[in-house]
Symmetry: C2
Subunit: 132 residues, 2 copies
Amino acid sequence: MTDRKMTIREMCEAFDVTPRTLRFYEAKELLFPIREGQKRLFTKRDRARLKLILRGKRFGFSLEEIRQLLDLYYMDDSQETQLRKTYTLAEKHLAEMEAQRDELNEAIAELKEQMAWGAKRLKELAPDRAAG
Amino acid sequence: MTDRKMTIREMCEAFDVTPRTLRFYEAKELLFPIREGQKRLFTKRDRARLKLILRGKRFGFSLEEIRQLLDLYYMDDSQETQLRKTYTLAEKHLAEMEAQRDELNEAIAELKEQMAWGAKRLKELAPDRAAG
DNA sequence: AGGAAAGATGACGTGAACGTAAACGTAACG
DNA sequence: CGTTACGTTTACGTTCACGTCATCTTTCCT
């Protein structure tokens, strides 16, 4: 397994975040780097989680929401009750994400329409170097 | 034209926001309610803008980004330079939104995969009332 | 041994996006 | 004519997600 342990600095370069951010995520229990003496070492698991965290952020989820969602990707030997709870939560998030995608598609279509209008106006103003 | 002017209270109920939010958006120059004495009256234009604002927020845009995007939807007699600037900005946003949609689709697919895995585990634990 | 480089902790600061409380205006209602 | 409802401004408070010191170890290098 490629379970290279990475230092905080390596993580920062790999994911373009600051040390503060990684420590903050650990404090919020989103990451669980192991310790070698004082120093944090980030595992393959932490890297996978961080990738999901950053993605979640881009979709506008809060860190707390993301923390709960992460459990789904790392369900292991949970009890049924917990598993079912997590599953239900995931269903909710899935619905939200699909709704967001649909709305996004709609917004994209509208924006394109507006841009077509703008392009037409630009063309009238300067036919030689119009937008396209 | 259905240009009914709405009070702040009516707006709040129609869009599920607080008065504070509407005043805040006005301060940030996202909305421009007219005044009847002291009181704000929100026009059809304000309603259209607010709808776009709330949508932009769901997509994770900041109010400042939204403010700039709104100009595109309300381009009227701008000069070419301004129009071209707005158009360029819109292109950038469009690209971002399309990228976000693609990533969202990917995330949805992955989440579904994880949920299928979870559903299978739940089925093993309790075949009678499994998740579907 | 001496010093830079990397990492740690702790505490205070910051920007965005509002929430909340105080104090005031005004307009209709019983 | 008082009070209830709705609206206003001003101003300080709050949450989230970090940024930014200051200070202290640990480690590596020459």
